[in-house]
């Protein structure tokens, strides 16, 4: 495999304590959010298992375990930077600063949701934060390319980040988006979250080479692989890539090895994966790892950690309560918003 285009990364992005704590806090918030809605999702789905029943109907793709990929990249972004994500996007939405209450309300299908209940958990749009997600695998890659093109034409230094899974990297549009970003030298960062699964199909069988980041050489752009769900490495690599993009240095492709703690969606019987896989992944929980790293560094105490957990829980609870108590849209609202 060719690694020629892999750039040697220098620690140009300095990690400060507050930033580290902020990242840990966001990871805690994401985790708490995902676990809370996972529990709520079960409500109303017994005795008959009906995906459409209960306070959270439809599909639910959780991102617990994948927090570093969201947080380590988005920490470098401003509200005017653009992020387009895929179907598994709660962690990225939260890391990009999308309002937690309106996010939760959208997942519940409430009128107060980000999209007034029309989008749902796979279709989250927040123009204030320039965040969007998508129900079609791969579809969001070129959206970031276009935003980056616009920023360049507008003379801004904003950047765009396109997230996709390891499965999405086998869609044709991935190739088109990378080539366009490269020939136009646009400020786009492509982030592949390699959780090693596309639903039931393992990356090992779906992808002809072991690292999507090596596909960067097909576009003459830097490609970096980050093993082992490593928050601080992601922080560095993404910081460098985003800085370069802002300064006109063009696109970067980053692949992050990450962990899917739950099934593809809640309710997935997961017959296809080894019984102990999740256990092994859980043993490497990125939250514990970051916590320990910070404690070792002297930037965090156990007590402070508990406070962070408490604060994150409170924020999530407040958002969930907001969502629960919000009204549903009126049925006739279904007819609005087809055209502007």
């Amino acid at each position: 495999m060719s690694h020629i285009l892999r750039v040697e990364w220098f620690m140009v992005v300095e990690l400060r304590k507050e930033t580290a704590i902020e990242m840990l806090y966001t990871m805690l918030k994401i985790r708490k959010f995902e676990e809370t809605i996972k529990d709520i999702y079960a409500e109303g789905k017994k005795p008959v298992f009906d995906l459409s029943a209960g306070p959270i109907p439809g599909f639910l793709h959780l991102s617990a375990g994948q927090e570093p990929a969201a947080v380590g990249v988005c920490i470098h972004l401003r509200a005017d930077d653009f992020v387009s994500a895929a179907h598994r996007a709660h962690h990225i939405a939260i890391a990009k600063g999308v309002d937690l209450k309106r996010l939760a309300a959208e997942i519940f299908g409430k009128k107060t949701g980000l999209c007034k209940g029309k989008g749902g958990h796979m279709h989250l749009f927040d123009p204030q934060k320039n965040f969007s997600s998508n129900g079609i695998v791969g579809a969001s890659f070129p959206h970031a390319v276009g935003a980056a093109l616009a920023y360049k034409m507008q003379g801004k230094d904003s950047v765009a980040v396109a997230y996709g899974g390891d499965g999405a990297a086998n869609q044709g549009i991935f190739h088109e988006a990378l080539n366009l970003a490269a020939i136009w030298k646009l400020p786009v960062i492509f982030v592949i979250e390699d959780n090693s699964w596309a639903l039931s199909f393992p990356k090992r069988l779906s992808t002809a080479i072991s690292r999507n980041s090596d596909r960067a050489s097909a576009y003459g752009i830097p490609g970096v692989f980050i093993p082992d769900n490593d928050l601080f490495r992601i922080f560095e690599v993404a910081g460098e890539a985003i800085k370069r993009a802002r300064e006109g240095g063009g696109p970067t492709l980053i692949e992050i090895e990450t962990y899917r703690f739950y099934g593809h969606y809640v309710g997935d019987p997961e017959r296809y994966r080894a019984k102990d896989e999740v256990e092994k992944l859980r043993a490497k929980d990125p939250i514990n790892r970051v916590k320990e790293q910070l404690i070792r560094k002297g930037w965090l105490t156990d007590k402070e950690f508990e406070e962070l957990v408490f604060r994150a829980s409170a924020e999530v609870d407040e958002a969930i309560n907001f969502a629960r108590e919000s009204p549903y849209p009126d049925p006739e609202e279904a007819l609005q918003d087809v055209f502007a």
């Binding site: 009906d50 439809g58 949701g113 029309k118 129900g135 579809a139 999405a168 639903l199 992808t207 296809y272």
Partner: protein
């Protein structure tokens, strides 16, 4: 149609059985698609096949729908009979060229020299809060393109017979499976969708509608889930002495015009119920055929009920509002017969 309920199967099992029996018979048939292997298909229609036929013949694919359908075309051109599972019909956009310009047209463009016996299965329909990217019907888009047959079973018996026929057909077939009829865990279906299914292989011809209920006052034409909603509505109407005839088209292409026209000649009234978007779709086509060919027999304006030209919204009250319900069918018929 089966009246004796000896062996009631859910639709996904009926389809899996049809594919299995055909694969036993003919080793040029194979299945490809995302999660069709160990997972058994997102809608269960390949359950058990991977274990029986192995990963060559029940082939999991990467998320590369255009490449995979293109590969089915190439394989069919040299003698295979591929079945490709697209999962959700909503994903058609990433592989539409391979379907509408390649699969649909190559037989014609080749002057009839190349045959492409390919079946594409795709889940349609809403009612599960899957929202705008996983709840569409879209069959009228396929039906608009010459060269594709379009099949839409409404119950297990039809599903098996239509699947075997689709596999044996020498033409490309888009086989639509309604998520609210398929019957896999998590997606409950009406009891009326779970019918007797004979064990032995049998076929149902493409292009033959099924009269689900005879009646003399109004003709209701529907497909898939809407057939069941129409039946519900007809029961409500019959309590008021209104006698609805219900036609399940079963295939959009070929369309059984005769059955529809004959029914309208008898009832003088036509309501078309569809879960697809209203405009430029199935309801328009059927209305037009009747307005052309049975106009003299109409006693009232034709009526249509369909999704009112909005994407399928996520939130339950919104989605319930846009998908035609038994109540709406009932009310519309009442308006037609005053």
């Amino acid at each position: 149609m089966a009246s004796v309920a000896e062996r009631r199967l859910r639709m996904y099992r009926a389809i899996a059985e049809a594919i299995d029996q055909e694969m036993e018979r003919d080793n040029t048939i194979f299945v490809m698609g995302e999660d069709v292997g160990a997972y058994g298909g997102v809608f269960g229609i390949t359950r058990g096949l991977y274990q029986k036929y192995g990963p060559e013949y029940v082939r999991d694919t990467p998320i590369s729908e255009a490449g995979v359908i293109g590969a089915a075309i190439g394989a069919a051109a040299v003698g295979m009979r591929p079945i490709v599972d697209l999962q959700f019909v909503d994903f058609v956009g990433v592989c539409f060229d391979q379907i509408f310009n390649q699969l649909a047209k190559i037989h014609y463009m080749s002057g009839g020299n190349v045959k492409l016996p390919v079946v594409i299965t795709a889940a349609i329909g809403g009612g599960l809060s899957f929202a705008a990217h996983h709840s569409q019907v879209l069959y009228s888009i396929f039906a608009h393109v010459p060269g594709l047959k379009v099949v839409v079973p409404s119950n297990s018996y039809d599903a098996k017979g239509l699947m075997i026929q689709s596999i044996r057909d020498d033409n490309p077939v888009i086989y639509c499976i309604h998520k609210r009829l398929i019957g896999v865990p998590g997606m409950p279906c009406p009891e009326t969708a779970i019918t007797h299914v004979p064990e032995e292989p049998y076929t149902i011809p493409l292009g033959k509608a099924s009269i689900k209920r005879e009646g003399k006052d109004v003709t209701i034409v529907a497909a898939a889930l809407m057939v069941h909603r129409a039946i519900e509505a007809a029961e409500m109407l019959s309590r008021e002495g209104i006698d609805a005839e219900i036609i399940d088209v079963r295939t959009l292409v070929p369309l059984d015009k005769d059955t529809i026209i004959n029914s309208v000649k008898k009832t003088g009234r036509l309501l078309i119920v569809d879960e697809d978007y209203k405009s430029y779709g199935m309801t328009g086509e059927i209305a037009a055929i009747v307005a052309e060919e049975a106009w003299e027999y109409l006693d009232a304006p034709i009526r249509r009920l369909a999704v009112p030209d909005v994407p399928i919204p996520f939130s339950r009250p919104l989605e319930d509002y846009v998908i035609p319900s038994a109540e709406k069918i009932y009310k519309t018929v009442k308006e037609m017969i005053k």
